[in-house]
Amino acid sequence: MTKEPVALAALSDIYESRYARFLRVAEAIVGDAEVARDVVQEAFVRLIRSRLQFRGEGSVDGWVWRTVVNTARNARRDASKHRAEDPSVEPTATNGHVVDAGVRALLATLPERQRLVLFLRYYADLDYRAIAEALEIRPGTVGATLNQAHSAMKRVLKEVPQ
């Protein structure tokens, strides 16, 4: 089992330089800004504690993003299990414009992998390789998944009278 411990300074640099992006992706996943802050903190607490167990498989960035995403997914899933169905999940359009609630609803209906790829692509500005590492899928799968998500988003746009 190869282990290459990650230096605290490296983690600190990643945290400080990309904090806003971590926060944004976490908020997109959990749907709550305050909880997103706690998710990012919790993710980094885990990263700090487990830095000695880092296996050196893949990049540190990929490991960090994976931990943030998984921490957020867990928080969201834990909460949603006991949450009443959100009435806003039905796509809506008003006066020819897709309202934000509609986009939110559309995102809620996308498969989780599509949502995560969208968030990492647009909110974190990650490239295919980095997304693939974060989600532990192949770069080709990232492209295919992103295409599917785009198609779904564009369908909604087309359905709205211009």
Binding site: M1, L8, S12, Y15, E16, Y19, A20, R21, R24, E27, A28, E34, V35, D38, V39, Q41, E42, F44, V45, R46, L47, I48, R49, S50, Q53, D61, R66, N70, N74, A75, R77, D78, A79, K81, H82, V98, D100, V103, R104, L107, E112, R113, L118, Y122, Y123, D125, L126, D127, Y128, R129, A130, L135, E136, I137, L146, N147, A149, M153, K154, L157
Partner: protein, 282 residues
């Protein structure tokens, strides 16, 4: 890390998404806080609920007793009366150091897929660890060498050849509360990307006639390692936490020496509830 040469980048999608979640450049990062929390709280691999708003949020909104876990991504769902048996989990801020000097192996199992820090093919075991205060811990670790515990809570020793994983400590009886033919735990590992792996372990009561155990599902049966009244095995990976890999029933079945099924536990229910779950005769 950015890549603006990617052609599959739709500005209209970007615009839609931009309105959903703002980039909070004014948000104050708190590296020192994360560091303090990491260094002051329980060590990795132990089970605890994280303090602070996230813990409260989860506790309030889920009303679940499942425990969020730190670095080694091992979550233990304690099921079927472990708490009733007086077991104590490391849910407080200062878990005790684990004494491993009298460790003995209860049952061994060869992993079929990665779990936590272990790889497929690794042979792991449930270890029985009598503690100086008279209690007993049962923890997972590699089957060999004999596990060692960190020198002090909150520290990780990268040179430790066999750090202990998830488990519980409790009454010295060890094999569950009276009247419960079987107790079990499900540990969730999330270190395989988007897939969750489950390790199942537990014990049968000393008076039980159970001689063999397996998990029955629509996909077939999975035998569990069984020795000294303790069992250990693995479920196929799932893409969702607290969800079994396929639809349909997943039932832990205990057989007597004649091959008759004499005990059943619904694992689906076990995954979604921390309360003792029903047992029914076949």
């Amino acid at each position: 890390m950015t890549d603006h040469d990617v052609t599959d980048y739709d500005p209209r999608v970007k615009e839609m998404l931009e309105r959903q979640v703002p980039l909070r450049l004014d948000a104050e990062a708190d590296w020192a806080g994360a560091l303090r929390k990491a260094e002051g709280a329980p060590e990795s691999g132990r089970n605890h609920r994280p303090p602070g708003r996230l813990g409260e949020w989860v506790a309030v909104r889920m009303r679940s007793r499942r425990l969020l876990v730190p670095a080694l991504v091992v979550a233990v769902l304690v099921i079927a009366g472990a708490a009733a048996a007086g077991a104590r989990l490391w849910s407080g801020p200062s878990p005790p150091a684990i004494d491993t000097t009298q460790a003995t192996s209860l049952v061994e199992y060869t992993l079929t897929s990665d779990f936590s820090v272990w790889k497929a093919g690794d042979r792991i075991a449930l270890w029985h660890l009598p503690q100086p205060d008279g209690s007993t811990c049962v923890l997972t670790a590699l089957a060999s060498p004999k596990p060692t515990a960190p020198a002090a809570p909150g520290t990780d020793d990268p040179n430790d050849p066999n750090p202990v994983g998830g488990g519980s400590c409790g009454n010295p009886g060890g094999q569950g509360p009276p009247g419960k033919p079987m107790t079990l735990q499900l540990e969730t590992g999330i270190d395989s990307g988007l897939y969750y792996n489950y390790l199942i372990s537990g014990s049968v009561s000393s008076g039980s006639d159970i001689a063999r155990l397996e998990i029955r599902s629509d996909a077939g049966s999975l035998p569990l390692a069984f020795s000294h009244g303790w069992f250990l095995g693995q479920l196929p990976p799932s893409s969702y936490e607290a969800s079994l890999p396929q639809r349909g029933q997943y039932v832990l079945v205990g057989y007597d020496s004649q091959g008759q099924a004499i005990e059943r536990r619904d694992l689906r229910q076990a995954l979604t509830s921390s309360a003792p779950f029903p047992s029914s005769a076949p």
